[in-house]
Symmetry: C2
Subunit: 337 residues, 2 copies
């Protein structure tokens, strides 16, 4: 027990060569007697193969990286919950990277691909910088990006038509007779922030509603920021009758603020979130939210990656997930359980 047994220890004890030991351990055809001896010695010594040595030879680590901004956000969580079992079933381990949406941090992870401690990477960058693009191009292992990426970027890509998603909610709110539809967004320099901002304007236009910049407030994608932003918005536009939030977390913050302000949801203000996380059914009132298919996106990303690990060389593929509106009591009072 003092020193870890290696293939060499076993070979000596069993009176065979290390090559034979390796063959037995890898299930290659071997004479029954040899196999028996090797196996028995290996078991007796409690032998476990050294993964570093194996990786060095085989050039595979059997690890996959997953990089997202913050493991605390239930969207990413939903993805991890899909991805982890799939990878595990395929014999891969999951290495988690929480980057705080910091570009330098993310580029560090990408550099990690070169260290070869992971065979592939699933990444959700909130901002895609030139640095990202360079690393994507130079990457020495497959990458799947969840979220939009410029045309022609040489990585597999899973995206969701968030524009359509925003349109769905805005139409829903409009259909309920709401005309002063506020919008609490996340940072505009993030990919989702920018997309949702454009989509909001576009949806209003389609419906013939005027775009009023006073109705828009920007915070960050967290509950506390959402609350603050919603409070600012409410103060500026007291006659708001609906609130679209770029995120379920933001929506939770908004609900807190509205409750404290004595506004009834949905009677006075209808509130909708995005992502349709578990939180939507926990919140009170239950939150109408656009599902952006987090679980589905996670699954698709894992599939794309595993596929490419199997046989590389194909052109990059893009999978697009359809958004789906899930209405609950925060917009449709009557549906309250």
């Amino acid at each position: 027990m003092s020193d870890e047994p290696t293939i060499t220890t076993i070979a000596r004890r069993a009176g065979v060569s290390i090559a034979s030991v390796s063959r037995v351990l890898n299930g290659l055809p071997t004479r029954a007697e040899t196999e028996r001896r090797v196996m028995s010695v290996a078991r007796e010594l409690g032998y476990v193969p050294n993964s570093a040595a194996r990786s060095l030879k085989s050039r595979r680590s059997n690890q996959i990286g997953f990089a997202m901004a913050d493991i605390g956000n239930p969207v990413y969580l939903a993805m991890v919950r899909e991805i982890q079992p799939m990878l595990k079933a395929a014999g891969y381990r999951l290495v988690l990277h929480s980057t705080n949406a910091d570009a330098a941090d993310e580029i560090d992870v990408l550099r990690g691909l070169g260290e070869r401690y992971i065979d592939g990477l699933i990444m959700i960058p909130l901002r895609v910088t030139d640095g990202h693009l360079e690393m994507f191009a130079a990457a020495r292992a497959p990458i799947v990006v969840i979220g939009s990426v410029p045309e022609g970027t040489p990585v597999d890509n899973v995206r969701v038509d968030s524009r359509a998603g925003v349109r769905l909610v805005v139409q829903h709110l409009h259909g309920l007779g709401r005309r002063r539809i506020g919008f609490v967004n996340g940072p505009l320099d993030t990919v989702p922030g920018a997309a949702r901002s454009a989509a909001y304007a576009e949806a209003l236009e389609t419906l013939g509603l005027p775009y009023d910049r006073n109705l828009v407030e920007v915070g960050d994608f967290y509950r506390a920021d959402g609350a603050r932003a919603a409070a600012r918005l409410l103060e500026r536009v007291p006659d708001l009758d609906a609130l679209l939030c770029a995120n379920d977390l933001i929506a939770l913050g908004a609900l807190d603020v509205l409750r404290r302000a004595g506004r009834r949801v949905p009677e006075d203000v209808a509130v909708a979130g995005m992502d349709d996380t578990d939180l939507a059914t926990i919140a009170w009132p239950p939150l109408t939210s656009v599902s952006l298919g987090s679980a589905e996106r996670g699954r698709a990303a894992a599939e794309l990656l595993l596929d490419r690990l199997d046989r590389d060389g194909r052109a990059p593929r893009t999978v697009t997930v359809e958004p789906r509106l899930v209405t609950r009591a925060s917009t449709m009072g009557e549906e309250t359980p």
Copy 2:
């Protein structure tokens, strides 16, 4: 770009030996001119050291494992959120294992320690089998167990006095005048399930309340199971006036059921959870819950592990975290925001 540059490539291009390259890259003293040449070639080639080779020599992987039942449970999530940045700051990566509370799966992870792909492991076993104990004893790398473990087990250990926690809530409910205090527990063959069961009985006895087995129902530690168990309990004991749930998730399920049954919380039934996760403040009404210091436990576990990685050889240590009751509207109506 075709073939990954190695230390040998650099050596050739710079006209020095691989030893010199290694020295430069590791910051060992070298003549300025040599250093300049090596660095410039390395940069030009986009050299990145191969982690497998490095691990093989150095016998360290710079990875730490974290094994829990289900990444979806916010308790574990709170821990990961503490642990991940601490490990990262210390130069370690996090390898995530979701074991579905399956003993065989957990033992697999423990076996992984022998593969040396992780330098240490933080584990939260829901059940501690003989298999676990054997692996703990034979482990070739440091382990920190979060949760109780038999006296004398040779691992560092972070625990929480859940007995005291249960006592706190039961006293709180009793102090509010509740006398028919139901208990929805998780599986009794899990470490927390067993502990909470014993603690519930004990707390009742301390308060001079009779133990009525009709008041106890067992499900699993999830929302849906909690709902089902609470429904059974409610049907059996309609005059229940308080409900202690072994878990915030269970409590959410219970809230759903009570709402659907038309019981007011807390007027008719006071509800309390355990773990004090984020969900407690999202639920409606906000949930009274016993904090079992998830974040604190995560931090302590990471500290213990990093400490032991620094210098091994000390006796195993145990850190105990104090529970803390956080009262909210689900038991104290008047505090409703």
